[in-house]
Symmetry: C2
Subunit: 412 residues, 2 copies
C-alpha cells in the first residue's frame, strides 16, 4: 500500500499567485470593459525582450545543435566550464570576491535551487525565515516535513519567523534563540529592502557562532543602485564558511522564460553529520545535482555566457535602468497620495503601507476594482506583511506611467 | 548547528559513469596513441544532430524571445498547453490510450522526474527495483532515507531487488512479498529487454491488489520495433489507477543536451494518507512542480512540440532507424564471436554476457585495452548485472562499423 507524503496536506490550498490569478480572472469575467484596462503589477515577471547578445548566442548554439560534429548531448550536470568560469570571474573575482569556478553550480532556476537545497540537509534543523517571505522557502520546508501544521497566524508551527517591519527597516534583528538554517534575501522580495555591510556582518557572526548555514538569495542583486550595499554575502569576511548563495539570470537578463540560475557552495562550508563529524557540503550538492539533475539546456547556457560580454553587460544595464525608472514613477505616485512607501530604490519592488483600516487583501481588491491594477497583497508573504502591498516595477514604460496616473487619482 | 543529510554518506563514492570516465581518462593519458582510436559505446548519449523540425522551431521561438510583444516570461510550471496537448494527443490518444492534457507534466528531464517523484511519497514505503537497474532509482531512494546502508552485494539494505537474468528473459517474476512502489523500465536500460502485454498485466494486477504504485520508465519507447509490445503502461487495463509513466525527448529526438521530458500522473491514481484516507496523487505532483520548478525553457518546449509534426515524426523515425541499424551491426559482431547477446532489437542497448571467468569490470578493461572500445560493465547496474556488459548503439555509423570490426577481431 503506497503512502503519500502527508506533509503536503499541511500546505494552504492556495499558493499566493494562483489565488491572485483566480481573483483577477473572476474580476475580468464579470467586468469585461474594465478587463481591457487591467495593468498587472503583481507577479514579479519581466516584460522586456531578451538582450540582443543573448538572442545572438541562442541562435548560434541552436545552429550547432543542428550540425554534425558540433552537436552536444549530455553536458556536465553542474554546468559547462565556460559558464561556471564566466560567472565566477564576472560576478565574483572581478569584484574582488573569492569564488572558484567549481563552486558555481548552474541550474534551471533559483526557485528550484532554493527548494532542492533542502535535499542535502537533515530533518532536525531549526529553520528561520524572514516575515514577510518568498513563499517557496516556507512551502518547501513544509513539504520536507520540517514544520508542524499551519497555525492561526498564517504560518507554520516549528518555523522561526523573523519579523521585518517599519520599526527595524525591514531588516530583522539577530535572534536570541538558536537557528540552524537561515534564509536571507537581499535585495528583498517582497519589501525591496537591502541590508548594510554591518547588518550582514552580524548575521555571518551569528551563523559562525552557532555553526548555522545562511541560505542567501541574491536574485535581485543587479538592482542595487546605491554604493556600499553588499551585492554578495561573500563580501562579508567569514561568509565562505557559513553561506550558500543563490543567483539568477531571470531578473537581470530577463530569463524567466528561458530558465538559468546558479548556486554557489564554497568548499569550506561544513555541516554536522550525526556522528558529530563536520563535513563539507560541496560534495553533497555535487552529488545531489549529478543524481537528480542533468544540466541546463546548452543554448541557454550560451545565452547566459553572453550576459558577461561587453555588449551583454550594456544591454542588461539598460534593462535594469528601464525597470528602475518604472520603480521611481510608481514609488512617487504612491508617495503623492501620502501612502507610506519603501523599496524601489535598490530593488524592482515597491512596498506600500495600506491606508488606515484597510487590510492587504481589501487593498488588493480596491486596487483591482477602482484602478484596475493588480498588486500583491503583503499578507500573502506572511503575517508581518499584513497592512502592506507590493507593486512590481516589471512592466512597459507606458503601463507604469498609466498605473501611476491611476494611483494618483485614487483617494482614501 | 546545521545538520547535513546523513543518507548521502551511504552512497558509493563513485557513481558508475564518473568511474568509467576516470578509467578511460587514465587509459588515454597512459596510451596517447590508442587514445585517438577510442570509440565510446558506454554512456547512452545520442550523437546525431537535432531534427531539422526542432531546429526550425527553436530559431522561431528564440526570435519571439527577442521581440517586444512576443517575448514570454514565466510559463506555466507544468508546461505550456500547446505541448501538453501535443503530447497527450500524439503519444496517447492517437494510439487509443486515455490520457488528458492536464495529466501530462512537462519537465527538464526524466532523470529529474524519477528522482523528484519521491517528494510526493511517504518514507515508509517498501521500494522494489529491477536488478540490474538504472542507478538513479536506487541512489535517489538512498538520499531520501528509504534504505539501510550499502551491503556486501553492492546493493542497499531495505530495498527489494528483482533479479533480471537469462532464466527469466530479464523480466522479473512478480514478487511474493508486498512492495509499495515498484520501478519498472521497458524497453529496459541496461538489458534492452521488453515486457509483453501479459507480463505488464500481471504487474498491474499485482499493483492493484496491493494498492502499490508502479513508476514506469518508458524513455526508450520509440525504439520498440516488434509489433504487440506495449509502448505505454496505460495500454494495460487498470494502469491508470496504479501507475505513473515517465517519458523523454532525449532518446527519440536527441534532446539530451536540450532537456525536455514529461511525466504522466493520471487523476484516478491514489495513495494512502496516514489517517487511512486514499487521496489522489495528481494534486500533490501539481503542487510539487508549482513550488519547486518553474517550467521548461520556452524555445525548448516549442522544439518538443515540433516532434509531433509530420516532418518531426519522419525525422525522428530516421534517427531511430539510424541507431537501430548500429544496434544490429554491433549485436551481430558480438554474436559472430559467440558471445551471448540480448537486447538491441527494441532498444538501443545490447546486453552481452562476458566470456567464462571474466567479470564485468575485467571485461570493461579488456575491451578498452584490446579494442579501445568503451562499454559499461553490467555489475555497475547491480549484482545481477555481473557477468554482462552493455554496448550503446548511440554512435555514428562509421564508429559502429569500426567497433564491430574490432569486436569480431577479438578472441577469448
Amino acid at each position: 500500500m503506497a503512502f503519500l507524503n502527508d506533509n503536503f496536506l499541511k500546505l494552504r490550498a492556495g499558493y499566493l499567485f494562483p489565488e491572485i490569478a483566480r481573483r483577477v480572472n473572476t474580476f475580468c469575467e464579470t467586468h469585461p470593459e474594465a478587463a481591457k484596462r487591467v495593468i498587472r503589477c503583481g507577479i514579479g515577471d519581466v516584460t522586456e525582450p531578451l538582450p540582443a547578445a543573448c538572442i545572438e548566442a541562442l541562435h548560434k548554439a541552436v545552429d550547432e545543435m543542428g550540425t554534425p560534429g558540433k552537436f552536444r548531448g549530455y553536458g556536465p550536470e553542474q554546468g559547462y566550464d565556460f559558464l561556471r568560469h564566466a560567472i565566477a570571474q564576472g560576478d565574483y573575482r572581478d569584484r574582488g570576491i573569492e569564488v572558484a569556478d567549481d563552486e558555481v553550480f548552474v541550474s534551471d532556476g533559483s526557485k528550484c535551487d532554493c527548494g532542492n537545497i533542502l535535499d542535502i540537509f537533515g530533518h532536525d534543523n531549526q529553520i528561520a525565515v524572514m516575515d514577510p517571505v518568498y513563499p517557496v522557502y516556507v512551502d518547501t520546508n513544509v513539504m520536507a516535513g520540517h514544520t508542524g501544521p499551519g497555525n492561526e497566524f498564517g504560518g507554520f508551527d516549528g518555523l522561526m519567523y523573523l519579523p521585518c517591519t517599519p520599526a527595524n527597516g525591514f531588516v530583522p534583528e539577530i535572534p536570541t534563540e538558536k537557528a540552524d538554517i537561515i534564509y536571507l534575501c537581499y535585495p528583498n522580495n517582497p519589501t525591496g529592502a537591502t541590508a548594510t555591510r554591518e547588518q550582514l556582518t552580524a548575521w555571518v557572526e551569528y551563523a559562525r557562532a552557532h555553526e548555522a548555514v545562511i541560505l542567501y538569495d541574491a536574485a535581485y542583486e543587479a538592482y542595487i543602485s546605491e554604493p556600499g550595499i553588499p551585492h554578495s554575502i561573500y563580501e562579508i569576511a567569514g561568509a565562505r564558511e557559513c553561506a550558500i548563495e543563490f543567483r539568477s539570470f531571470s531578473k537581470n537578463a530577463g530569463f524567466t522564460g528561458l530558465r538559468c540560475a546558479f548556486t554557489v557552495v564554497p568548499k569550506g562550508l561544513k555541516a554536522l553529520a550525526l556522528n558529530g563529524e563536520r563535513r563539507p557540503l560541496h560534495p553533497l550538492w555535487q552529488r545531489r545535482m549529478s543524481t537528480k539533475f542533468n544540466g541546463v539546456s546548452y543554448p541557454v547556457q550560451r545565452a547566459a555566457e553572453a550576459v558577461y560580454t561587453a555588449a551583454g553587460k550594456a544591454q542588461i544595464a539598460g534593462l535594469v535602468a528601464h525597470y528602475m525608472e518604472n520603480a521611481r514613477i510608481l514609488r512617487e505616485a504612491c508617495a503623492a497620495i501620502s501612502l507610506d512607501v519603501t523599496g524601489g530604490r535598490n530593488a524592482p519592488y515597491i512596498w506600500v503601507g495600506t491606508p488606515p483600516g484597510i487590510g492587504s487583501w481589501d487593498m488588493f481588491d480596491l486596487m483591482l476594482e477602482e484602478a484596475n491594477i493588480v498588486v500583491t497583497p503583503g499578507s500573502g508573504f506572511g503575517s508581518s506583511g499584513e497592512g502592506f502591498f507590493r507593486i512590481s516595477a516589471f512592466n512597459s514604460r507606458a503601463n507604469a506611467e498609466e498605473a501611476a496616473r491611476r494611483i494618483v487619482g485614487m483617494s482614501f
